[in-house]
Symmetry: C2
Subunit: 142 residues, 2 copies
DNA sequence: TCAGAAATCAAGAATGATTCTTATTTTTAT
DNA sequence: ATAAAAATAAGAATCATTCTTGATTTCTGA
């Protein structure tokens, strides 16, 4: 492995730790890539992007980093059917719209103040810990 | 292959065709299984269940049947993260709740008359062709 | 009714995203 | 500075799903 000894000191403008997760060189670049592009990339996409900065990084490490970031609540996974998992650094509760004409994936916010019970018939006693809301369609601009 | 010559006549109480899809012996049993149990089974689950009636059926055929039924709008796929795909014969617009204490998956109806724009900030010009709404959590019964 | 065409099926191989394993390197705590 | 713990790279393994192929069944039109 190439020397990583400057790992923790290189980036003075970046926290050493987020939500209790140590920001290693690899995790930092993976997170940076997600924040900079915001295109809901797959692990493969992130891998290719981060390679410019860290040419020796492996795909397995990208998966490890994405998993660690997800487990610590720093990013979220986004699933469309059983396609490759995508990642999103937007932590606000929101859904995702896949525009089938452009292929782009957009964040879709919930109306402010709305609660699940306002639009869903949930069984009584339900506690929801995780929500995934995905839409497909097209956008007509004129 | 075991003779299938009684294929189309065996079930007099079952339509020969649904939404333009010919109901073969295999498709009929797959669909029957989904309708009878309503537990959102995986392809593997359906395979094991249908084997009682059609011992010679293959997993690939179950996948083919589920795909054909899905393509003809007779059933729907249900996805939780990247777990095995599950299948649902309820065609009403609805979401799915995975109860993490029991492992059960429940259909969750939308409030009657509600529209997406009522609770979502969709970009103008959006046409939604497909919705997937999945929740995880627990239910407290007392 | 019968022959050829089209559709369906079974079985197993192939695919592809993700996870796992292991050896190495880096970081942390003493 | 050193031993223990954590993280990484590389490639093998896994597993749901799809694909391929040859056999079987169903359909269509003489």
């Amino acid at each position: 492995m190439v020397s990583n000894s400057d790992n923790s000191n290189e980036q003075e403008d970046f926290p050493q730790e987020i939500n209790g997760l140590r920001m290693t060189r690899q995790r930092r670049e993976v997170y940076r890539s997600l924040m900079a592009k915001r295109v809901h990339p797959t692990a493969q996409d992130v891998f290719l992007d981060v390679k410019d900065k860290l040419p020796q990084i492996s795909l397995a490490t990208v998966y490890n980093c994405l998993e660690a970031l997800t487990q610590h609540g720093i990013i979220r996974q986004v699933h469309f059917d059983r396609e490759s998992c995508r990642y999103c650094p937007n932590l606000h509760e929101h859904g995702h719209f896949h525009d089938q004409s452009t292929g782009k994936i957009l964040d879709v916010a919930f109306k402010p103040g709305i609660r699940l019970e306002d639009f869903l018939d949930l069984p009584p006693g339900t506690t929801v810990s995780n929500i995934e809301f995905t839409l497909r369609g097209t956008i007509v601009t004129h």
